[in-house]
Structure formats: C-alpha cells, structure tokens
Assembly symmetry: D3
Homo-oligomer: 135 residues x 6
Amino acid sequence: MATVRLLTDEEAARDPRVAAVFADIRATRNTDFINNFWRALATQPELLESTWARLRQVMAPGALDPLTKELIYIAVSVTNGCSYCAHSHTAAARAKGLTEAQEAEFLAVLGMAAQTNQLVTALQVPVDPEFQVQT
Amino acid sequence: MATVRLLTDEEAARDPRVAAVFADIRATRNTDFINNFWRALATQPELLESTWARLRQVMAPGALDPLTKELIYIAVSVTNGCSYCAHSHTAAARAKGLTEAQEAEFLAVLGMAAQTNQLVTALQVPVDPEFQVQT
Amino acid sequence: MATVRLLTDEEAARDPRVAAVFADIRATRNTDFINNFWRALATQPELLESTWARLRQVMAPGALDPLTKELIYIAVSVTNGCSYCAHSHTAAARAKGLTEAQEAEFLAVLGMAAQTNQLVTALQVPVDPEFQVQT
Amino acid sequence: MATVRLLTDEEAARDPRVAAVFADIRATRNTDFINNFWRALATQPELLESTWARLRQVMAPGALDPLTKELIYIAVSVTNGCSYCAHSHTAAARAKGLTEAQEAEFLAVLGMAAQTNQLVTALQVPVDPEFQVQT
Amino acid sequence: MATVRLLTDEEAARDPRVAAVFADIRATRNTDFINNFWRALATQPELLESTWARLRQVMAPGALDPLTKELIYIAVSVTNGCSYCAHSHTAAARAKGLTEAQEAEFLAVLGMAAQTNQLVTALQVPVDPEFQVQT
Amino acid sequence: MATVRLLTDEEAARDPRVAAVFADIRATRNTDFINNFWRALATQPELLESTWARLRQVMAPGALDPLTKELIYIAVSVTNGCSYCAHSHTAAARAKGLTEAQEAEFLAVLGMAAQTNQLVTALQVPVDPEFQVQT
C-alpha cells in the first residue's frame, strides 16, 4: 500500500534532481540499496532534496553518537505509531551496533516513559517550579 | 491544576507505604526534593510503589548510560505532548551532564523524526522486505 | 487562554439557538453551572447544537452505565493529552460515584495499556489470525 | 512484519524464565493459546516477566469488573492507533461477554470523545475552577 | 484485517436503515462504490446513520471549498496515524482536483507543522499574550 | 514555563546569526513583533536558521494560498495537541482573512475527522483496493 508510486531506478534516472539524491544516498551509506521512503518521496523532487539534505546533516556524528541518534529517532517513531519508521530505524540501529542488552534496556525505557506520561496526564500534575527555566 | 491532591510530607508520613517510597526516592537521588509526580501518585499507594520500583530499576545505569536513557525518555514525552514530563526529564538530563552541543543535536533529531514520520504516514510507505525480521 | 471568547450568560441569551442549548444543558444536568467548553463552543451555534445533541444521546444510560462511559471518555481524553477533558470528565466520573478503589484500578489500567501499546508498536507485533474477524 | 522474532514453543522452552511465563499465561487463561505479543516479548525475558506479572495483577477482577477494564484498555489502544492492541483487546472483551448493544454504545463514546477532545484543543478551552482539585 | 465484519450489499439490504444509508451514499456521490468504512460501520446501524448524516453535512460545499476540506481531513488523519483515512481522503482529494503542485506543497506543510509542533513541545514555549483572545 | 530561556532583543543582537534571522522575520512579516517560538529557538542558532529558512519557503504563496496552508498547519497542530501552535496559527489564519463562516466549517471538519479516524481505528477497516496506488 502507498498513496504515491515508488520510483524505480529507471524512473529516478529521468529526473536529474532525483538521480543526484539517489546517488548521494548510495555514496553516503556505501550501499546500492535505496529504501522505499526515498522512492516514495522521489515523486516530490523538492521535498526529496530538502529532506535528504537535512537528514544527512542531522544524523551525522557530532556531540551525540550515531547510535544514540537512532535510538532517539526510534523513540519518536514508536510514540507516533509509525510502523515503517520503527522498522527502518530499528534496522539502522542494529546496523550501527545496537547490542541485545542495549535493546532490552531501550525497550524498557520506552515502555516506562509511555506509562508515566499517561499517569502524569491522567493526574494533570503541575510543573514544579524547580523544573522551570527563568525567562 | 491537578485532578488529585498533591501530598505534603506530613500527609505522606501518615501512610507507611508512601513514607517508605518517599524515603527511598530521597536516598536514591541523594536530595530532599520530591517532585510533584510522586506527590500526586502518592494518593494511590500501590501505584506509587510499583511505579517507583520499576522506574528505579529501568533508569539505573546498565548497557545504556543514564543520560542516553533520559534522552529517550524526553523523546517519548515530547512526542506524547506531556508538558510535565518534558520539563522534568529535561531538567534530569541537564543534571546528568547534557551539554549545550548535545541538546542542540537532540532537538534537531527530535524535529527531523517528527517530520519524516509525518511524511511516511502521508505517503503510506510500505515496509521494505530488508527491514523485516524473519518470523 | 483560549482561541475564542467564552460567552457569558448575557451573550448566550442574545442568540436563541445558544440560549436553547444552555437551557437544555441546565435542565438535563439539573444544575445552573455551564462549563467553559459550552461557553467556547457557543461562538459557533451550529456546532454547539449538533455537539450537545449528540453528546446527550451518547452519554445517556443504556447498555453501558454512565460511569463506565465516563471512564472510557477519560481514557480517550488522557491518551489524546487533552488537559481540559481530563479535568472535566474526571470531575464527572466522581460525581457519578467513582470510588477511590475504582480510581486506583482505572489509573493502573491506563498506565498498563499505554506501556503495552508502546511495546507492541516497538516490536511491530503481527496480528494473530485468531483475533481477526472473517470478512 | 515485526522487528523481532516471534518465539516458538520449542524456543520458549529453552529459557526457564520464558518457559515459566508461558506456563503461567496458559494456566491463568486456561488455554494453550499464546498470542504473538508474548512470543515477541519473549526475546527479552526480563521485560516479558515484569510485563506479564504486572498485567496479570492489573487486569484481575477488583473494584472494576474485567469487561470494564478491557473497554478502558481498548479506548487507550485505539486512541494510540495500536492496531494489534485494538484487535487483541476487542477479542478479549468479546470473550468476556461484550454484547452487541454494549459494543455499539462503546464505539459511539469512543467517537464522541475523539471529536470533543479535538474541539477543546482547537478552542484551547481553559479549565473551569470547579474542575480543579485544591492542592 | 478488521475487528468487525464488512457487510456485503446483500446483507446491507436486509436492514432498512443500512439500506437507506447505502442508497444515499450512492446517490450523493453518484457512484455505485461503497467503501469499506461504511461496510464496517454498517454493523452498527445507528452509528452508521448519525455518522453519514453528519459527514454529508460537514463536507458539503460552503464557506470552504470541498478540496480544502479534504486537505484538512487528510492533515488530521495523517497526524492521527490513520492509514485507512490517509488512503481514502488522499484518493478523495485527487478526485476533487488536487494537482501535483498542490500535493507537493501540502506535503511540505504537513512535514513542517509536525516538525515545529515537536520543537515547540520540546522547548515548552509559553503562549504570547498577543495570541490570546480576551475572555 | 519553558525548558529554555527566551532571548530578548538585546541578547539576540549579540549573536550575528540570531540577529540576522530576527531581522529577516521582521522584514518578511512587516512587523516588529517576534513571537516566543523564535525567542526560544534562538538559544540554538543553527536550528533557528534552518527552521526559519524552511518555514519561510514552505508557507510562501504557491499552488496553495497562504490561508489554506495555515488551516492545514492548525489541523496538524490541534491533532498533535500543541497548545502554543494552536494559538499562534489560529491568530495567523485570522490575520490572513479567515472569516467566521470559514472558521465554523473548519472546526466542524476538524471534529468530524477526529471522530471518523477513531472509528476507523476501532473497527480496523482494511484499505479498499480502489484507494491504493499501483506500485
């Protein structure tokens, strides 16, 4: 299922903007594999370009290591209920070295956060003054 | 605002289960400060006990360091729109050493994930077979 | 805060449609109190009328008792992170006889459901054939 | 699809902790059927144990009857958009005696709550002082 | 998958209320096609009637044109992560004349809104007095 | 409340990147008013720059008019439960000419979409083949 077509490599090659992004994805990731998100987004070349440019920058190693960034990405994706995103970023986290022990703790934190978020919202707990930044 | 009362230390002292949890929070965190979440949850002693016991276990150092766990916690909390949780866990992350540079990258990942989750859902991208675990 | 004005009784009296709904709310609930949701919705008389008419019908006693309906309402509201709704329907549930023991169990179920929802989504568990209705 | 393997009974038997939980699920529910959630969670024995222990306790009969608890569970699951959870808990509610008439009213409340939550958030209705608990 | 049966035309014909709604959908939309949402909802005749009556009224041309209404509908559906709704309303928007250029901009706004919503929630930005309506 | 400081004009003037964005916001919007979102984001100059650059581009007039874009923005924001965003974009929509009649219909669509999304998810309606794009 999809609400747009997924571009094949042949179709991607016909639009120079799409072709350039696909080439850069392949070079950056050092693999020929282009996953479906980019093939779907390729129906909108401007959005493809701006999304890939930003993603490459945001996910690059920096003050946070790439695996930590993937875990944060999965946390957002799971909470948003995005099935595709959960699949793709879990695969990415494993490719970046996620161990079994880390995955176990990660899942435990995900579940705990969802639970206490729900309780806080049910109880409508007021923010402690100690947690507020002076503005 | 709140949908339940927040227990004062005097009130907490009257219920041995609540008193024990409050004492353990203070000992574990090495501070006298008990934040409002626990004071609200204290109206339900069984829930207070089980939540604190699980939280202490889940957030302890392990295969993932405490700061990484806080970042995952914030990611879930922000995506769930939990204002109290965003405040309390951001404060906790800073107390655990979150640097300015890390916070900048963390926010960038949070925003990027929300954006691509939304695009994936709008496009209804099918999961690549490469991302699926054989079951 | 609000994105629309909240109508006073004087202002409500000027529009016959709004006046009629306010009168019906008071008669149905046997109280003079009109809560802010209706005062805000009163800026849109058609929406006020259709929402009140439907709510009165849906929340009336039937195969499910009124308290059970309120608990379901709170469950949706808390999961949606709707602060006003959590406050108003928790107050309504208490007015309809919610006991302390029921509230404790209700909160425990709310938290448990949020936690297992999150784990299911993280693990992307496929639906068992046993749970599917033949179509 | 799934992001982890689903353990077969043979695999479950190899880990004493998993085997014990599976045996307890079967005894508690008086059926040989183990649904996929537990087979997926079985890849993380500690999480399996703690989740099952808590679920069994929370969903046991108490001040709220088991059917009411299932309806609350479905309400959270549907609002979270958890497909698996909607399927499994709807099946559970029916097994616990949910009638056609109750299901009709339940769905009506679910839809109504979602609608008024959305309107309240759009209008940003301020909480009435009458709904606030004195803290 | 579904949690209820999808009614065939033969089954729909057996209940006069369902038959009347199906006939009205066909007349209003000028097509014989009845999509699965209505076939599923037909298991609950009262909910089918009230939902269709309200939808027909709300989506009719008025101060906002039908295409704009569909885009708003998709925006809510995607943000709620409703796969069926994203599919059905995207198809409806295209049937109502959505152009390629409009779709590109629509997707860009969807992604941008999700991103800034997330940043606002992470930063817990207080509402400017200028944005508040005097109440 | 906020989890970061809100930069004053004096503080913004000290960082050339922030000063440049603030100047561009003022020039683009033809007003001296800088709302709190930008003052909070200014604590992260890179994120401020990239967010503003993208927002200015995405919200510019194009195949969709600015008011339609604001309505889509509000729809996402309300569904995400973002209070600040609901306030700021409702104000923006009114500044761009949203009429009372349009606002009434907009709210009706928002509520209707939330309701049918919820019903679709509860019923787990399968996507009709007619709504799927051939891939």
